[in-house]
Amino acid sequence: MVCLKQAVDVSQLKVDPKTSQLLTASAPKKISDFDKNALEEAIRIKEKIGEAEIYTVTVSSEDAKAVLREALAIGADKAYFVNDQSFQDLDTSGTAYILAEVIKKIGEFYLVLCGEASLDSFSGLVGSRLAELLNLPQINSVKKIFVEANAVTAERTLEDAYETVKTKMPALITVTREINQPRIPSLMMIMKASKKEIVTWTLADLNIQKEKIEPKIKVVEVLAPKTERKKILITGENADEIAEKLAKALIQEGVVGR
């Protein structure tokens, strides 16, 4: 199972210069980068162990079919798309709850793979919440995975150490972008993907308690940050002159020397 989020492509996000509001509605969407790494890793695991099915799960209030077609072209076998208008205000708590219900409904699995965080909101909570709801062991921020018969070993980097962690499957793993370089689907793969199935469910198809998808946090304001930098360009006849001016400026700023 790979959880995929359709995220705002933050590199193409524009800001209204007058209001500092983000124009997220008009920004292009794509599979969140980290989730693509999770999908790629699932495919690599499948290639190594031979037999496995890869299912992707996406929860969104918007149409995400194009993104799911891409996931199928990359190598997922089947995509589950849970689409409902009421998902507009979902937070990490509600998202994880719906994902858990979807995964329970789909059935048995060895591994749930998620990106460590999403490209746009970058919260990094859904994977851990989901594991807790599914009562699965979890390994987070993983940069290497080894799958054995019934166990999985993973490497992660902490603030001050590298750690190798082992657990039984089924388990949930969140991956970093270091883990792999996702493949780009060939035309052949794209053609083949059109025959693969996208299962679309709404809230009514799931065993969902409405109050559990109520958001538990509320975004009050999202604004582009103000950068108040001096933007002083230092010029000169040659490198030495520039360096001298710059050195002087830095000493005056009090950021160098004792």
Binding site: S123, L125, V165, P215, K216, R229, I232, L233
Partner: protein, 321 residues
């Protein structure tokens, strides 16, 4: 249901615990409530007393040789049991690689919301706790409020200042707990290289990007870093694409807040810029006058880093004497 009250802090990292106590004290005073630290570890009685000096009114101390290292399930069950019975209003958890999943799981068990990686945290005029965090890949700052209790926020290292320790009174409550069986087993740990450990603490960082032609040329940066007592860093492409290094500075790597950040041959994509936002002074050296890094720099030099860096090193040597 009794009302939730109190501000709690927990991190498996001691320094981060102290920093959160600094912020926690401010919030607790504003809300006129108590500040509680949860301390889990082995042989940490002395630290418990120290937490009082750094602002805690009360410390729940779980001192057990089996808890010398972080254990996800044991730590989770300790915090869950404590929070479920004492009902804090606010819970600040250190946003580390282990702390963040812990916060997410705790929020799930307590059926509450969590605001991750709050760079700022304040009580507004309506008495609401508002967390501020960077979002949309560094393009925006979101202000977020809670609609559930307890309010869980995760706090990155060095977002807040610890207080000056002072003699004050407080209560240390020692608790015995049943240690939850782990679901995962740490089979090996090895320490990170010293340089990458310290970059988030560094006061001066000289950092390189794609403009660096060969890995060995990092010595140009090291020379400058050396005389400034700083560290050398790099942007993500040098780690991810060229595989020269394993770590990087940026939103998805190390977020840094030095007094001085010198970006050499770094174009300045938004994710990198988000990771250096808190630097006091940013210097950009780049041969492309159109590079976006100049938009976020205090001092910019359009030029070849191979010429500017050695000259700057010499100039600073001379002027600092």
């Amino acid at each position: 249901m009794s009302e939730n009250k109190g501000v709690w802090v927990f991190s498996e990292k001691y320094d981060l615990t102290l920093e959160m106590l600094g912020k926690g004290r401010e919030i607790a005073d504003k809300l006129q409530t108590e500040l509680v630290a949860v301390l889990v570890g082995s042989n940490v009685q002395e630290k418990a007393n120290e937490l009082i000096k750094y602002g805690a009114d009360k410390v729940y101390l779980i001192d057990n040789p089996a808890l010398e290292r972080f254990q996800a399930e044991a730590h989770l069950s300790i915090l869950h049991n404590l929070a479920a019975s004492h009902k804090p209003d606010i819970l600040l958890i250190g946003s580390t690689k282990n702390g963040k999943p812990l916060a997410a799981r705790l929020a799930t068990l307590l059926e509450t919301g969590c605001i991750p990686d709050c760079a700022r945290l304040n009580v507004d005029e309506k008495g609401r706790l508002i967390g501020e965090r960077i979002t949309y890949g560094g393009n925006a700052v979101a202000k977020i409020a809670f609609r559930s209790k307890p309010k869980i926020a995760t706090i990155p290292a060095r977002a807040f200042e610890k207080l000056e320790p002072q003699e004050r009174s407080g209560e240390v409550i020692k608790l015995d707990v049943k240690i939850e069986e782990p679901k995962t087993e740490v089979v090996e740990t090895k320490p990170l290289e010293i340089s990458s450990v310290n970059i988030e603490e560094a006061e001066v960082i000289v950092s390189c990007g794609r403009g660096l032609e060969r890995k060995e040329d990092k010595t140009f940066l090291e020379e400058l870093a050396k005389i400034l007592g700083g560290q050398v860093g790099n942007s993500r492409p040098l780690a991810e694409d060229r595989k020269w290094f394993t770590e990087w500075v940026g939103l998805s790597g190390h977020k840094v807040k030095p007094k001085l950040y010198v970006a050499c041959g770094i174009s300045g994509v938004i994710q990198h810029v988000a990771g250096i936002r808190d630097a006091k002074i940013i210097v950009a050296i780049n041969n492309d006058p159109e590079a976006p890094i100049f938009e976020v720099a205090d001092y910019g030099v359009v030029g070849n880093l191979y010429e500017i860096l050695p000259a700057l090193t010499e100039a600073l040597k001379k002027q600092l004497q």
